[in-house]
Every structure is written in C-alpha cells, then in structure tokens.
C-alpha cells in the first residue's frame, strides 16, 4: 500500500529529508503513485485533488496481515494487519458485528474528532494487535497515520521531490521514489497534520532523530526514537484546559 500527501496537508520532520539525496534520484509524489499503480497487479488508486492520493492492492498480501480499504463520510482509510481486541472495541464504540478493523479505525477517529473524550494517544494505545493504518479526513484536511508498538508490520515513510510525504509498507517503492530521504516509521507512534509525530506508548516523552548512514557512508533519512531522558513540557499537563469555543479536532 502507498499514500502520498502534499506539504500543505502533512509536514514531515526536516530530519527525514537526507542532505545527501540527489534531486535526480527522487520523484514527485504523484509520479510515485502512478509508478506503483502501473507496476502492481490489481492496484486500486484514489486521487484527491490538491491533496495527494492513496493506492493499495491485495496482490501478495500476507495471510495473517491482510490489507483493507474503506471510505465513509469523506474519511478514507487503508489498514493492514489485525486487531486482537476487535470484539471489545466494537462493544466500546457501540458498533455492530459486521464492522471490520478498517471501519473501526474510521469510527474511532470520528469519535476523537467530533467529541474528543480523551487524547489520541489513549485511543491508539487501546488498539491491540499487529497493525498499521493511513487515514485521510477530507472534511478538515487531516491525516492520521499510526504503527503498532511491536512494529511487526513493516512500515516506511519518506519525502518526495516536491515535498510530499509518502507512506508505504514496501521499502522498494520509497527507495525508488524518495532516494535516500526515507526511513522506517517509528514503532508505537502516530503522525497527524495538526500534531506532527508523537509517541502514543510514551505520550509525555519527546522523540529524537537518530542519524542513519548507508554502506557508502552517505546520510539517509533519520529514524526517530523516544527520548526517555527528557520530558516534553508542553505535554506535562495532559489534558489542557480550553474554552468551549476551542476546536477539539485540532488536538488530533
């Protein structure tokens, strides 16, 4: 699966962009998407004007980690993996038995966006299993991407030539499209348009970039790890007090 988003929707951390990346080895976001669609059998592509796009296929998917795609009320979501506590989560969100993992993610996101009963790290931490998902909300132009704590499902992100952020479970796709400006997505973390990259396993700790080099000694896109030595002072007050006129959706 592959998702590409323009810089006006998603701003990737600067450290993800490699300084030793040549301009000719990177492609624009939509070209990466087109190449993927052309080279992958049975690919389904979604294009969103002035935002980017998504593409997925069921070709060669892992038996225990199937890919799925759903769209409801302007929310588009690609999911890979499985949730072990799906039955419990269905009950918690008051959903029917026919609800699949990808539909549950959309419902959880909508609850978070519209009612915001608790912070996003709590919602993602409640998901138990091996999973990765990419969600785009066309209503408020927000993306929400997450990977489970174990990182059993491979997941990568990178920056394209035109500043687009690309996400994929296939490293070769990003290697050919983003050159050296790509890295594994940090486990136990989520990325959103409003909040940037955050750890949901350690919500009070900031993330620090770790430099990576290839066999030729050239710098690659940085990986991110939780800095256990520091505490994020902004997040000390876990539930910040806001007036009723504040937009809760911006805390996702």
């Amino acid at each position: 699966m592959l998702a590409v988003f323009h810089g006006n929707v998603a701003n990737a951390p600067q450290e993800l962009c490699s300084p030793s990346s040549r301009p000719d080895e990177r492609k624009p976001g939509l070209q990466i998407l087109e190449t993927f669609t052309a080279q992958t059998p049975g690919a389904v592509r979604l294009l969103i004007r002035d935002v980017g796009g998504m593409a997925y296929t069921h070709h060669k998917e892992a038996l225990l980690r199937p890919r799925s795609f759903a769209s409801v009320d302007g929310i588009f979501c690609m999911f890979q993996g499985n949730l072990e506590n799906l039955a419990t989560l269905r009950q918690e969100y008051g959903l029917g038995k026919s609800i699949t993992e990808v539909m549950l993610i959309i419902e959880a996101y909508r609850t978070l966006r519209d009612r915001g009963p608790f912070p996003p790290d709590k919602v993602v931490a409640d998901l138990d299993g091996q999973f990765t998902f990419i969600l785009y909300d066309s209503t408020n132009k927000n993306i929400f991407v997450a990977l489970d704590g174990e990182g059993k499902v491979p997941f990568y992100w990178g920056t394209a030539a035109d500043g687009c952020v690309a996400f994929s479970d296939i490293p070769e796709v990003l290697e050919s499209g983003c050159g050296k400006s790509f890295a594994p997505f940090p486990t136990g973390c989520y990325f959103s348009s409003h909040m940037g990259l955050q750890s949901y396993e350690h919500p009070l700790q900031p993330l620090k970039p770790i430099l990576r080099v290839d066999s030729q000694g050239q710098r690659l896109g940085a990986e991110f790890e939780v800095d256990m030595g520091k505490k994020d002072l902004k997040k000390q007050e876990s539930m910040h007090r806001v007036g009723s006129e504040a937009n809760w959706a911006e805390s996702i």
Binding site: T37, P41, G42, A43, V44, R45, L46, L47, I48, R49, D50, T57, S68, F69, A70, S71, V72, D73, G94, L95, G96, T100, M103, S138
Partner: protein, 253 residues
C-alpha cells in the same frame, strides 16, 4: 459525478451506440481514462478512484444540490457513489438490522451485499423498496459487478454513454458525456437498473421488456437510443428461477 467501466465488466446495449459516426464526431470522442482525467482537471475538489483494468469513479461535493447531496463509500471492496435522499431510510435501517449512523450510501452497499450473498428476493424487489429521489453507481471488486439504478420519477438526472474504447460511462452531468461520447449517449431510463450480469432491466415493471426509442438531434442525426418499458411485451423468464444449491446466486443481480 462520473463512473467509467470497461467492456470486460459492463456491456452496454447496442442501441446506445449512435449509427451516425462521422470522422469529426469520432475524433471528438475520448477514451475512458481521458474522460476521468478531464473531469479531475476541470472540477474543484474532485476525488477519483481508479480501479485496475476496469475503469474508475470520480465525484465532487462542489456545486451539489442542497436536497440531493452526493456521497461516496467503500466497504469490503464494494465502491458506491450515491446522489439524492431516501425517504424511508429509518425503515430500511430496521429492515437490514443496521445502526443509526448508517447513511444512504452505506445502506445501498449493505442491501447489495445481502442480495449478493443471500439473495432472499430478486433485485427488482430490493430497488422497489427504496423510496425517494436517488441515483447510484456501485462496483463490486470481489465479483467484478457493476450495479446502477435510478428512481422511478427520474428527478435526479443520470446519463450513460459509450466512450471511444467501448467503455460505459455514467454521469449526472450531460455536458461531460456530450463532450466525450459524441452522439453515443442518452438519459438513463427512470425506474430501471443496469448490472453486469442482467443488463438493463426495469424494477418498476419487472415482467415487461424494455424497448429502445430512437432519438435525433436538431440536425436530424441519430443519437444513442433512450429505453422505455414495452407494456405490450412480457419477459419470458420466470420470476424466481429454480436452481440447485450449488448455483451462484450472485449472478442473478
């Protein structure tokens, strides 16, 4: 909204193709992919889904009618675009055992899935139970089936046409098809549905056949035919064909 399906999944009736095909008209016709690309370029906030080797769908909420909004959903490999409203949505939710947050487009997908997997009654019965002004275009990736329908009153316009590469195009905007299908396009018949397996059928009069009605433009040139229910002729097929348990019910959609 716009949907294009290749001839591999949707075979249009021959009468939809205009016999008047001068060189000039043929050159103005576009392929399915070109129509989708043009729609994406010319439409604000457009969203396009490209279905591998099959075709694609595109829609926008820009300039949509207040009382007949457009919606799109994908559930379990079933892609559906819906425009309009269902007046009996609450009753249908109850009938299909669905929750309160289910909207029109999700209900159409659920109704289709029930029809495909369990087939408790014929497709015309399911569509006849939908009350309101609506059109929808549905594509099922699992069994490569197209399912398109329009309400009986035909208050929401829906057009269909043939592209240069023999793909079948559906749209609520006649200008799109006029510019890309030449003269090979026509209004979709009200109270009817089209599916890959069953072709064009009337769900208002399921026992009657449909007859093509020739249309001509102001220059006297033949356009794609419109279809009307032929009240004089009865369809020979029995309503509920008797089949063994090994038969594929999904083929009767």
């Amino acid at each position: 909204m716009l949907a294009i399906f290749g001839s591999a999944v949707a075979n249009a009736p021959q009468e939809l193709s205009s016999p008047c095909s001068t060189k000039e008209i043929e050159e103005s016709r576009k392929s399915g992919g070109e129509i989708l690309d043009t729609f994406m370029k010319e439409t604000h906030n457009a969203i396009q889904v490209t279905l591998c080797d099959v075709g694609g769908m595109a829609y926008t909420h820009h300039k949509q009618a207040l009382l007949t909004p457009r919606s799109f959903a994908v559930i379990d490999g079933v892609f559906c675009m819906f425009q309009g409203t269902l007046e009996n949505l609450t009753a249908l939710r109850q009938e299909y055992g669905l929750t309160k947050n289910v909207n029109e487009v999700m209900l159409i997908i659920q109704a289709y899935k029930t029809l495909r997997d369990r087939g408790p009654f014929p497709a015309d019965r399911v569509l006849a139970s939908l009350n309101g002004r609506f059109i929808f275009v549905l594509y099922d990736t699992n069994c490569r089936t197209v399912f398109v329908a329009q309400d009986c009153e035909g208050k929401i316009p829906l057009y269909w046409g043939l592209t240069r590469d023999d793909s079948l195009a559906f749209s609520d905007a006649p200008e799109i098809l006029k510019a890309s299908c030449g003269k090979s396009f026509a209004p979709f018949p009200a109270g009817c549905y089209f599916s890959s397996n069953m072709g064009l059928k009337s769900y208002e009069h399921p026992l009657q056949k449909l007859k093509p009605v020739p249309r001509v433009d102001s220059h006297g040139q033949a356009l794609g035919a419109a279809f009307k229910v032929d009240m004089a002729q009865r369809s020979q097929e029995p309503m509920m064909p008797r089949v063994g348990s090994e038969a594929n019910w999904a083929q009767s959609i």
